[in-house]
Each structure stands twice: as structure tokens, then as C-alpha cells.
Amino acid sequence: MSTPLFSVDDLRVSFRTLDGVVHAVDGISYAVEAGKTLGIVGESGSGKTVSSLTALGLTRSDNTTIKGSITFDGQDMVTLADDKLRAVRGNDMAMIFQDPLSALHPFYRVGWQLVEAMRAHQSISKSAARTRAAELLDLVGIPDPKRRIDQYPHEFSGGMRQRAMIAMALSNEPKLLIADEPTTALDVTVQAQILALLQDLQERLGTAIIIITHDLGVVAQIADDICVMYAGRIVERGSTEDIFHAPQHPYTWGLLRSIPRLDNPRDEELMPISGRPPSLINRPSGCHFHPRCPYVRDAHKRVDPKLAAVDGSAEHVVACLLESSVRSRIWDGIQSGRDADSLQRMAASSPEPAVPPELANAPESEGTDIEPSEEGVTESERHGQHGPMGPVDEVDHRLTRNERSGDVITGPEDT
């Protein structure tokens, strides 16, 4: 197997804040191969954005502690010097963000911003860069690009703005493109177009993509592999096939079952995941998911599961204390429409797992829920968009939050 283009190895990122230490990312490992797409899925506050921001060096500050390694194209991004890091950012590794209206500077023309991105990394004349900017806008499907490069971001529609951001990210032909919730702020129809665009660009340019989202529907469409994150950890990881056909973690089941489906009976109830994401300052003891897990046992409140391979697959791993046979039965039950109560009874009927002696007296705690707080509220949130706040709010607000759950309806958009 060839060396992956981008790999994260036991990354731990914590932020020291006034309220305590936020364990944003607590030992995660994943890899992306050249030309492939990885989806990172999780709720607000799962830490899904932090590893990518850390790869670009955007979380570095006096209050941040970063351990572990992030290897990109042979270099360790965690220890890389600032100037070398800047040479990679926007160049070989590029990132696009959630709300393209606030992510583009409102005072500068779109073409100017693309030219700036190019001239930061290439020695190219302004006029050549302008020509290239028009070509890039054309590449991402923006009509009449020569006129559009002299327009301001507010003159573009939402979908077009996101296309322009993608064009800007691609302007230096990156090997890896990280897309952080690229479609969350957009209409559903536009969403599909943006995803198709990303796939098309990957085929044409061979760019590897990491797509970060809370929406499993999005990753189903374009990801080759998926990491499911919860409370700063990866709880399940595998190929898209594995995750959708044989999911192993109760959280993954919850995500899959909470998607409304057109082919299910109309009156069939959705199975939401009860409760709220935990605060990353004060996490639940044992398995971090235990307060919300319908199949929790006593032992789960004390023992912290590690990622382990699922039978029959080297690539598919899950961190769950339930026995794999129990899990299969529960998943089959969920799929065939058995109601929640009978599934819980079935799970509870299996033998009680043992607690290792050293943890016998470990304290149990449910942790605390995230407090919605004003810290780190981004401009788009200040203007009234909705969604529960993530614990990254408790961080120094220079690290702007961009995690959200739930789609934001911004109004009728055309491409």
C-alpha cells in the first residue's frame, strides 16, 4: 500500500480557556490517499474541524497544546515552522469554509481575491493572474467569468460564491482540498451541484478531498472513506460501503436513522439521538457516548473503548464496548423496523460485560452539556443563523467557530 498523501496520527489538540481545558481532539488517526475523498462526519462540537485547522497551522496559539503528528506530503505539519507552513497553506493544501458570504472579503472584488491567492505562492504577473482567475471561475461553472471577476462577493448568489471559493482554493493546484461544511449554508439543490462539482474536479485534477460535514447524505455521495467523530474522538472509521451497510457504532446508527428517507413509510418515526453533545471540558466518564446510548450498560460508564477492527475487515474499525454479535443483531433489528424499546431489551439481555479490576472504583459521570455561549460567535451567527453552539466557543475567539448542525435556510438561491 502506498504512503498516504495526508495522515493524522494520534493527534491531540486542547485549548486552555477561562472555563477550563477544552479537549477538542483526543487521539485521532486517519489518512487520505492521493486522489481520494475522505468524509469526516459528526455533530457540532465533535472536533471534526479542529484536526484540519491544525493541519494548516490555524490553531496555533499560546493557549493551544498540540500533540501527535500530521504528515502531509512527507512533512510534519505540527512541528513545521511558520513560514514553511504558510508556503503550504493555500498552495499544496487548501481549505474552503462554510459560509462563502462571510468567508470572502466584502470590500474586494472576487477576481482580486483570486489574484491575491495566486500571487501569494506563484511568481505570476497581475494580468496573467487575472486571466487565470477568469479561467478558474469558468472551471467551476460560473457563467460569464470575465465580467464576474470584477464583481464583489455580495453580487454573487450563494452557490456562485461557494464556487468562487472553490476556484480560489484550487488556484494553486493543491494536492489536498479540505472542504469544511461547504454546502451547509446553501440550498439543497445547489448543494447537489457543488458536490457534483467537487467530484468532477477531483476526476480532472486528481485532488484529494477531505469533506467535513454533519450530513451523512453528503458523504454518501462523494466520499470513499468515512470517519465518524464524537466528542473529539473517532468512534468509527471505514469505507463508505462499510459505514452504510454494516455500521457498528450506536452513534452511527443514530446518524443513519435520523435522516428522513423518501422511500420509507411516511408515518414511520425518525429515531433521533437523544440528549446533546457533551462539553469537551467536562466529558462523560468511560465511553463518552454513554449518556446518550440506548444500549448502555454499567461497565460502559467506566471503561473507555479503544478503536478495534471489525471482524472480517482490516480497514473498518469501531470504538464500542458492545459485543459484535450484539451489534449486528441490533442493526438488523433497526433496519427491519423493530421499535426502540424491543431493541433495548434485546441489548440488555446479553451478558453484562466485565469491568477490569483497576477501573472497578472509577468515578462515573455524565459530563456536562455544551453551554451555548457568545464567545467565538462568527459574524454569520451574529446575524441570526441558527444551530446549537459547539464547545469550540469556549476557545479564544480568534479561532472562529464553524461547526453547526442543521441546515440553514438562507432563502431562494439560484446558481
Partner: protein, 320 residues
């Protein structure tokens, strides 16, 4: 855009006429010394006073006086004559305007030179000793009253009465054309006094504005593009942060051009502010009216200029 400007100008003219009407009204309704009496001098006979009243047109009804007044301005550019000295108001204002312009514009340059860098550095090094020291200094600057600070610097540094005889003291103002060097040195202390309050205000405003801009999403995008931090701060952060500051600047200068009375009095500078004050005290109504119209005009113009500037700086505003 053009229709917008034209509309603003027309509205500005209406406003100015309204202001002068109001001033006229106040002067005639509110108790004040009878200008005829003042002009007549001591121990004058009622006949003299009455004669002066007729001469000055004060015996006519208020609205007639106002109408005559406006007619003179619009048709003849004649703002009337001082009740006291008989000099034409326009000539008096023309005499005094350069001093006020020198004082205001020089102070503005100084407070920008001090306030802007301090504001930016405080924002960048937020929370550091530099920031805290600067904001404490700003608080002091804002708290010192103009007249107190003016007298203080005179007592400390004026070369006639001060302890350390460095700068020219009160009353040393000369016009730019008379002697540039003396003009400049005589204005140093007054500039400092006027600028200290404003520099403090501007540094605080810019600091807040820059901290807010640096928290915006487009800053994260700029960093993700791999731009140097310097470029991110200046081209992306400061560029957004100055917009509110520039609009305040326009309004401040507009207001100051109407005359900085206190500074002009403390430093004995022959400007519009002092002219206005002396005219009020001596009920010299035409001068008061003239300076009030001038001040209103400056503010109206400043508002229009600021609006245009804002549209130039922030493209989102242009289409509303």
C-alpha cells in the same frame, strides 16, 4: 449615485435654511441684551436707541427681518453687518476662517498620527502590557477637560509664562502667509490639546473596530490562503476596520470647523469659535447668525462627504 448626491445637497440646503430660521427665532424670543442698547453705549438717550433700532431694522416684525435677511444672502451674498462694529459679516468670517482651518486640520493630522497606530497596535497585541498601557493613556486623554489641559500645558511649556519655556504661548498666533515658522510653532500647543482627547477616542474606536474585523470569517480565509500575517492584518483587517473610523473623522472635522471655542479662547487664537462667542456675549446677532450658518454648512457638507466616502470604501453600500 448621482441622484443620491443631488438629493443630499438639496436636503442640505433646506437644513441650513431651517437652522438659520431657528437661530433667528431663538434670538428674538429668548431674552438677550438689546443690541441697540449695547451699540448706543452708556448713558444714551432713548431717542438714540430708537434711532439705532430703526437703522438696524429691529423695529420690523420678525418674519420680515428673516425674509430680508435670506434675500440678502441668496441674492447678494450679503450676510449683514455687525451691530457692534458695522463690519460686514462675510469679511469678519473670512478673516477668522484661516485660523480655525489651521487649528482643526492640524489637530486632525496629529490625532490621526497618534491615535491610529496606537489603536492598531493595541488591537494586534490585545491584552498585553502595551495594550493596557495605551488604553489607560487613552482613558486619561479622554478624561482631561480641554481648558484644563490647555492651561496646564501653557503653565508648563509656554515660553512666556511656563516653567520650561519651550513653545510659544497664548496669543502668539500668526497667519501662515505672515510667517510659516511662527504659524507652525504657535499652533503646536493648541494642536496637542485638541488632539489629545480625539487621539484617545480614535485609538479606542480603531482598536475595537480592528478586533472585531480580525474576528471575521474572511480573516480565517486570508490566513488559509497562506498570506503573511502582516498582509492579513493590513489588507484584510485594517481595511475593514477603518471604515467606521473615517466616518467619525469626517463628522468630527465638520463639527470642529464650526469653531473650537475653548481652545481658541485659552490660546487666544482669532478663529471662528471665538468670533462666535464674543458675538453671542455682545448680542451681535448678524455675526452669530453668520457663524451658525457656516457651522451648519460645514456639518452638512461633512455628512455628505462621509456618505460618499463610505460608499466608496464599502461596495455593499452602493446599491442601497
Amino acid at each position: 449615485m448621482a441622484t443620491y448626491i443631488v438629493r443630499r445637497i438639496l436636503w442640505g440646503i433646506v437644513l441650513t435654511i431651517l437652522v438659520s430660521a431657528l437661530t433667528f427665532l431663538f434670538f428674538n424670543i429668548l431674552p438677550s441684551a438689546d443690541p441697540a442698547v449695547l451699540r448706543a453705549g452708556r448713558n444714551s438717550s432713548p431717542a438714540t436707541i430708537e434711532h439705532i433700532r430703526v437703522e438696524l431694522g429691529l423695529n420690523k416684525p420678525v418674519y420680515t427681518q428673516f425674509f430680508t435677511y435670506m434675500k440678502n444672502i441668496i441674492l447678494h451674498w450679503n450676510f449683514g453687518y455687525s451691530f457692534y462694529s458695522g463690519a460686514s459679516v462675510t469679511s469678519l468670517i473670512k478673516d477668522r476662517l484661516p485660523a480655525t482651518l489651521s487649528l482643526t486640520l492640524g489637530a486632525a493630522v496629529l490625532w490621526l498620527l497618534i491615535g491610529v497606530p496606537i489603536g492598531i497596535i493595541s488591537a494586534i497585541k490585545r491584552g498585553s502590557a502595551v495594550d493596557r498601557g495605551a488604553m489607560a493613556g487613552a482613558l486619561a486623554g479622554v478624561s482631561f477637560p480641554d481648558f484644563w489641559l490647555g492651561l496646564l500645558v501653557l503653565f508648563l511649556f509656554a515660553n512666556d509664562i511656563g516653567r520650561f519655556k519651550i513653545f510659544p504661548g497664548a496669543g502668539s498666533y500668526v497667519g501662515l502667509t505672515v510667517s510659516p515658522v511662527h504659524w507652525f510653532t504657535s499652533l503646536l500647543l493648541p494642536w496637542f490639546v485638541l488632539a489629545s482627547t480625539s487621539a484617545a477616542v480614535y485609538s479606542r474606536v480603531l482598536r475595537g473596530s480592528l478586533i472585531e474585523s480580525m474576528g471575521e470569517d474572511y480573516i480565517r480565509t486570508a490566513r488559509a490562503k497562506g498570506l503573511t500575517e502582516r498582509r492579513v492584518i493590513w489588507r484584510h483587517g485594517v481595511r475593514s476596520a477603518v471604515t467606521p473610523v473615517l466616518t467619525i473623522l469626517g463628522l468630527d472635522i465638520g463639527a470642529l470647523l464650526g469653531g473650537a471655542v475653548i481652545a481658541e479662547t485659552v490660546f487666544d487664537i482669532p478663529g471662528i469659535g471665538r468670533l462666535n462667542y464674543q458675538a453671542i456675549v455682545s448680542s451681535d446677532f448678524p455675526i452669530v447668525q453668520g457663524t451658525v450658518i457656516l457651522a451648519a454648512l460645514f456639518i452638512v457638507i461633512a455628512n455628505i462627504v462621509v456618505d460618499i466616502m463610505y460608499a466608496y470604501l464599502d461596495p455593499r453600500v452602493r446599491y442601497s
